[in-house]
Symmetry: C2
Subunit: 204 residues, 2 copies
């Protein structure tokens, strides 16, 4: 496999970064070609269908980067066998991931591979291809969460539900962090993860 495809990759990376911060409509093709240094003609050579096709490639790229990031954090924070019970505890892993998000979104840094939430919010009703790309991304992320809950012996339906809850928490938390220009909301959420997802509980 040769590395001829560099221009295409630069376009995808640049687009991912800009869309993430300013959304789909907020970024013009002129911004992308200026920032990437790749002329408009080349953009349309690699993406003949234009902006929408580039956006979908960027969403797909973000999907994979985020999946790898989740897996990495989960692997670094799994304690199979070290617990005093037989099953692994997913709570530490989820908490570690939200703490990571708080670091990444806290100080206006430029996180590689991050939220497609902004694009989803804008385009769900005006571009079905983009909506489908976002939907597929969300489902893939949630599968990882579901898998983690299943590993800890949650029932299948409960694992799926908790994965939805956790995903909503991260998307909402990222939105709050960006809006407040602070990592605090995500930190707060991370702190609450253990009590929110405690497995056994007794009603008061």
């Amino acid at each position: 496999m040769k590395e001829k495809v560099k221009s295409k990759d630069v376009l995808i990376e640049t687009a991912s970064r800009l869309f993430k911060v300013r959304g789909y409509c907020g970024v013009g093709l002129n911004d992308i070609i200026e920032e990437s240094g790749i002329p408009k003609g080349s953009l349309y050579y690699y993406f003949p269908e234009g902006k929408e096709q580039l956006a979908i490639a960027a969403i797909d790229n973000t999907k994979k980067l985020v999946m790898a990031d989740i897996q990495r954090v989960f692997n670094e924070n799994s304690h199979v066998g070290t617990s005093n019970l037989s099953t692994s505890n997913p709570i530490d892993a989820f908490q570690a991931y939200v703490y990571e998000l708080s670091r990444v979104f806290g100080e206006g840094g430029d996180p590689i591979g991050s939220p497609i939430g902004t694009i989803a919010g804008e385009k769900h009703s005006t571009s079905e291809p983009i909506r489908l790309a976002c939907e597929a991304t969300f489902k893939d992320w949630q599968s990882i969460y579901t898998e983690k809950f299943l590993e800890a012996d949650y029932a299948e339906q409960q694992a799926k539900s908790l994965a939805t809850v956790f995903h909503a928490l991260t998307e909402g938390g990222i939105l709050l962090a960006l809006t407040m220009k602070s990592g605090k909301p995500l930190e707060t959420i991370a702190e609450q993860i253990p009590s929110l997802f405690a497995k056994e509980l007794v009603e008061k």
Copy 2:
């Protein structure tokens, strides 16, 4: 107080509705004047600073509508004194509100007064006035949640943290519902509310 201000109100209502679904950049002033039937000259008469000023008015309008809606649902679902303990239980109220959101965002209906999340996601980095309006809105919504937790005798810091968590859950849940074109994610979240926010718990 006369009702001369009708044109201005129609503009704000129309803008709120369109921004909510398609975001700030996704809606042109032409869309707003076409949909509202109010000519562009009048728009600039009421909002001399243009689109940004209109958007901030729309955000403020949405803030108030949503606050009223939260209060209404909370009042309809509070059980002070009917419980077998002395304090009111906020969990039913929060659950009822998320069920309401699932109905409103489920079938692509046109909910009056709804998420500014899309605008916040797009413009937090490119318009400080809009970011501040969104931040103020989020803080006001969270105060209602905090108040509800305080009523149920949560400690002040814990009440604030749980309010952040609940708010993130709703914003994330709305994004998932819109992206999936389904009320299911919000329904799932509503179902999980009781176990997530159960007050007393025992570690396994």
